[in-house]
Symmetry: C2
């Protein structure tokens, strides 16, 4: 039997063949178990959703703090109390926060459409009037970000993620040299899927760097700002203040939501930016909206009571999901540690573990896992065009299944990683 | 004193001068009363909103009829039960209905953006790639429809409304001759603001007429399908079946919502079309959305119980608002009947009374009313570009104020109509 602390790439051919047979047998055993497990998407579990069921019988009154009946039309910016609550949590002035419907992704789409059709407050023309528009995409990243770009016909150029956030030297070089580069995506706190936190220093550089395009935008998707997995509770970089201080106040547009705080389908989403950006955004919104669901906003205000209510609530989430992340890391360490065919992240927050397997085997691992009844995020999905140039990255999302299933799924994944590596190393 | 059954345009100069002085005195008296009344927008009143307060403690369970947890992500088409409920109410197969968020206006904007960026299932190219795009707008019409067109840079051409719906001969002539004409707006049942119902015959002609553009679209905004003011409860024309039978199944796109059934800010919106149109629409939606607020959809399903629950609920609305419409018509008849300076509609449903005053005086009436503390919809707002060529139309929205205020506001409006007419007829 191969010692799993022996690096597989260093094994003699005979040992490798034996190892492969062993993993094949383990895989064949998996097939007989009829698993049906899903690690594909960052969805809250039932136990997490239950934490917010106080919402179901709220609100107990229908006027907001300004006396506005939230059941009726109006209020494009959203109600003041929820902008104050999440403004404090995100470190942003409430006047610079817009509270919208249930989806921050929809707010991102609307923002891109506004830029495309009309340009930003600092644009020379609508982006659709440019010969070409390109976005910088740190990779691995969030597939839905890339899908939006492709829907609009926006090109992409990738940069690596580092421990401090995106590779800021690479970003600065690209942004300075190419006027078609109009913006970038970033999940600053607990990156999707790699978990890094963009530091205050990197954020300062991103908002102050010279850009060839006068209207360069940072889509600062702070989806996991409050989603800590440890007691550390990292604070996000204060990108709007940094941008204002750098003389580029309109560069960042901040997004956040309660999708993974309350309900994934029925939360409240937020957009924030410079006062001019907020006025620009609601101006376009008002061309085709009479206001968001303020009732759901008031429901959330009454449920949480205060920003501390949200923080306490997030600690309850942590109690549910931190053990699942621990289980993922335990199985990875036990089964893949020292094998030389896998590395993975140890996130302090967010919803994912990013697993890098032997280059050229990620698709095979995902195919094997599927065959064994374990659904993984499709190969390459963390890259624009679903093209992972090294076929190495797999995004693991352990929040949705119950703990026992997470462990069971990860045991299966580990077997698939080892079998695919053995196949690859054997030249097939 | 002038007899109000005497037509003002026929009065001798002296009598007209006396009449004008009388109305000026009445107006001056109004100024002293410090009114603050609002007939501007079609908003439900507090009493109407209260009818739906059963929603506030729903849902009592969180799974839909298919066992899906509505608190989580997913389900782009909306939950089956609400599509069935409103499909029956609208006479549309549930599979051809999409249930969305809280705003049908947002669904219209999204549809126009999809057409603009990508074209329809029967388009040769994206609408943005056309040299010019034009929409037919029946007038008077809904200002927010026109605003959306202007936001996208779509041109407009107007046709009159008739008792049977839009002037279908005029529409057919325009659509047949001009390939830049890509679509039209229509509020088919209880038009905004004129109240007419588009007949089955007119609808049949609209969906079968030859069009120069292969991808001509009817934006069938059935916002008031269920909003009857009499026991008649008119049924809307079955536009999707007629279109399919005519071989133009993709021509109509239907919109509706519960904004004026439950809550104006927190209802459920619907889109419907051919199966291909629905697939096209959700396909684009899925590029930037993970699904609508299904919880609010389930909340509505549980609140109504059945389509008959919705019908009963609408009768309660009618009891609240029909007296307000009656008050508007009474004051108009008492004060303006026989004066020869005003005509108005007598709607069987919907949210508006459309008042036509002496040509050239609508702006002045609205200005006078504002001075007296009565807010009316801005002059011209029922026309594209806010340009009422005859300066004659005023949209009255009596649902929001309480009954006594409706009467008080209408008395003031009548005074303003008469004063403005007297000024005009006197040559000043």
């Amino acid at each position: 039997m191969a010692d799993q602390t022996t690096s597989l790439p260093d094994l003699p051919a005979d040992d490798l063949a034996a190892f492969r047979e062993q993993q094949q047998a383990a895989y064949d055993a998996l097939l007989g178990r009829g698993l049906s497990l899903d690690l594909t998407r960052g969805k809250p579990s039932t136990e997490q959703l239950d934490l917010s069921d106080g919402l179901l019988s709220l609100p107990t009154s229908v006027k907001d703090g300004d006396g506005v009946d939230v059941r009726n039309y109006g209020g494009l910016n959203g109600i003041r109390e929820i902008r104050e609550m999440f403004g404090e949590l995100l470190g942003i002035e409430p006047g610079q926060v817009v509270a919208g419907g249930s989806s921050s992704l929809v707010m991102m789409r609307e923002t891109l459409v506004d830029l495309w059709l009309h340009g930003a407050v600092d644009s020379e023309r609508p982006w659709s009037a440019e010969e070409k528009v390109t976005f910088i995409c740190p990779v691995p990243g969030y597939d839905r970000h890339f899908t939006l770009l492709s829907w609009l016909g926006i090109d992409t150029v990738t940069v690596p993620m580092t421990d401090d956030g995106p590779d800021v030297e690479a970003v600065a070089r690209l942004a300075a040299s190419d006027p078609t580069i109009k913006g970038m995506w970033l999940v600053p706190t607990y990156a999707n899927p790699t978990g890094q936190v963009t530091t205050q220093e990197v954020a300062a550089r991103l908002v102050s760097m010279p850009t060839a395009a006068p209207d360069f935008k940072i889509f600062w998707d702070n989806a996991y700002a409050l989603h800590h997995l440890t007691a550390e509770e990292t604070k996000s970089a204060d990108v709007l203040s940094l941008a204002a201080a750098s003389g580029n106040p309109h560069r960042p547009i901040v997004f956040a939501s309660t999708s993974k705080i309350t309900y994934a389908g029925a939360g409240v989403a937020f957009l924030a930016g410079s006062p001019e950006t907020v006025a620009w955004w609601t101006g376009h919104l008002g061309k085709g909206s009479i206001g968001p669901d303020k009732l759901n906003q008031l429901r959330h205000v009454q449920f949480f009571g205060s920003p501390d209510g949200v923080r306490d609530h997030m600690r309850q989430h942590r109690e549910v999901i931190a053990p699942k992340f621990a289980a993922v890391l335990e199985v990875l360490q036990e089964r893949l540690g020292g094998t030389g065919v896998a590395t993975w992240t140890d996130p302090r927050g967010g919803y994912f573990v990013s697993l890098d397997v032997l280059p050229g085997t990620a698709s095979r691992v995902i195919e094997l896992a599927k065959g064994a009844g374990v659904a993984l995020t499709p190969a390459g999905s963390a890259f624009p065009g679903s093209h992972d140039p090294d076929d190495t990255n797999i995004r693991l999302a352990p929040t949705f299944p119950v703990l026992a299933e997470v462990r069971e799924a990860m045991e299966a994944v580990a077997t698939c990683v080892l079998l695919a590596a053995a196949e690859k190393l054997a030249g097939n």
